[in-house]
Structures are given as C-alpha cells and as structure tokens.
C-alpha cells in the first residue's frame, strides 16, 4: 500500500486510517494494529511538522508492505533531515514535564526496528519493522 499526502495535520489521521485498514486486511492481532497505527501517526506527524514544516507543497509518502515474517513501514518527507541522537530523552527527569519529544520514544517502543536515513533525492526516510 502506498499513500501520498500533503503536509498538514489532517494527513496524520488519513495515514493512520490507511495503516489500520492495511493491518486489518493483513489479519493482524489488535496489539499489532495498535502498534502500527501509533508508529504511523508519530512518524507522519514528525514528517509534517519537523520534516516538511507544514509546507503543503511538500508531500509525505507512506508505504506499507507485509511478508510472512513482518510488516515494513516507510515514511518519507522532503525536509532537511535530523539526527535522532540529538533528540533529548523524554524520560530523563529534567524532560518529564516537557510537552513534546515523545514520538520517537513511542516509535522505538512499539516497533521492532526503526531506522532513519537520508532519502535519495533529499528528505528523510524512516523505515520501521514490526515482526509478526
């Protein structure tokens, strides 16, 4: 499944709805569906906000693929990229009361693998794998 969406907040719900349909069609259990839904929400929200910076002329491209072993999700934006190691740990005591910065923690917590890479032609490509 491939979805291309404009960089606006409403795209997060659209992407999550598509991911949920994909996961249900793949016959996944409820916990897996929740994990995929949340990971797609968080990665698309990051792509819209931090990657494309709400520039609606820039798209967010989402792809979902299944194999007998796993589900692979890719989310690509057209921003300038970032280094995940630069994001402060939201569970550190001094960051607990910050309003933002928990999306990557959720992606890492609910997916088995999460990788960030520079996409061919620019932008950031997030690849996430959830094993069945």
């Amino acid at each position: 499944m491939q979805i291309t969406l404009p960089s606006r907040i409403e795209s997060v719900d659209e992407a999550a709805a598509g991911a949920e349909r994909f996961a249900k069609d793949a016959g996944l259990a409820d916990d897996m569906i929740f994990a995929i839904d949340l990971a797609v929400r968080e990665s698309v929200a990051n792509a819209v906000k931090h990657g494309n910076k709400f520039d609606e002329s820039k798209s967010v491209e989402i792809s979902l693929a299944e194999s007998s072993e796993s589900i692979e999700i890719k989310v690509r934006d057209h921003g300038t990229g970032f280094r995940p190691e630069d994001i402060p740990d939201p569970t550190d005591r001094e960051n607990l009361l910050k309003a933002n910065g928990r999306g990557i923690l959720f992606m890492r917590s609910f997916m088995d693998e999460v990788q960030w890479a520079n996409a061919d032609g620019g932008g950031l490509l997030v690849t996430m794998v959830k094993r069945r």
Partner: protein, 114 residues
C-alpha cells in the same frame, strides 16, 4: 463527527472532565487545551480528568496531559487522572509519567484525595 467530547461536571469543589473519544494531534489535543483553559479561567483549580472513554491517545495527547498538569499547577491547583485504559497506562509507563500523575481507578477515591 468530532474526535472528542468533553463533558464537565462538579463534585463539591472538584471539577470532573469526562473525555470521550481520541486525544490525538489536532482536534483532540486542542479541545483538551481549550477545556482546561476555560475551567481555569473560571477559577476552578481542582481538576479530575476521567479518561475511561478515551479510545486512543498519541504523543501529542500525552503532551497535552502534561501541559494541562503544569498549567493547573501554575495556578496553584491540582490535576489528577481517573480510569486509565490499559493502553494509556502503558504509554504513561513508557514515558515514566506514572511517576508524575496521581492516578485513580475509582471516582470516589479520587474525589476523597483532593
């Protein structure tokens, strides 16, 4: 249909906000922020958020719970949580926010704690 419905009721000097729906980026988070601002503006500073009918929350929604907590504290008040679903409990545990929020499973116990 709206992502979330927030209903206010009063139990003595405690204001209970019953949330029903999704607290996610966009409408859900904005609605919660608006409700907290409104009740604080009315001078109500003892707040209990009933999350028993929140079917879904993301990092933005969790962030809005934290912002609500700090906004109420700044006014000298108290914000507590009631009826966490299993999923919300999981997310608050992952983020270590269970160490921050005062959480109750029973409304009477929650009200007695203020």
């Amino acid at each position: 249909m709206a992502d979330i419905t927030i209903t206010e009721r009063q139990a003595g000097d405690v204001t209970i906000l019953d949330l029903d729906g999704k607290v996610t980026i966009g409408e859900g988070s904005v609605a919660l922020r608006g409700a907290i601002r409104r009740v604080l503006g009315e001078g109500k500073t003892k707040l209990l958020l009933n999350l028993g009918h929140v079917g879904y929350i993301d990092s933005s929604g969790i962030g809005e719970l934290v912002s609500s907590f700090t906004a109420v504290n700044k006014e000298g008040g108290t914000l507590k949580l009631l009826n966490l679903t299993e999923k919300i409990q999981d997310l608050l545990a992952i983020t270590k926010l269970l160490t921050v929020f005062d959480v109750y499973e029973n409304e009477a116990d929650a009200l007695a704690s203020f």
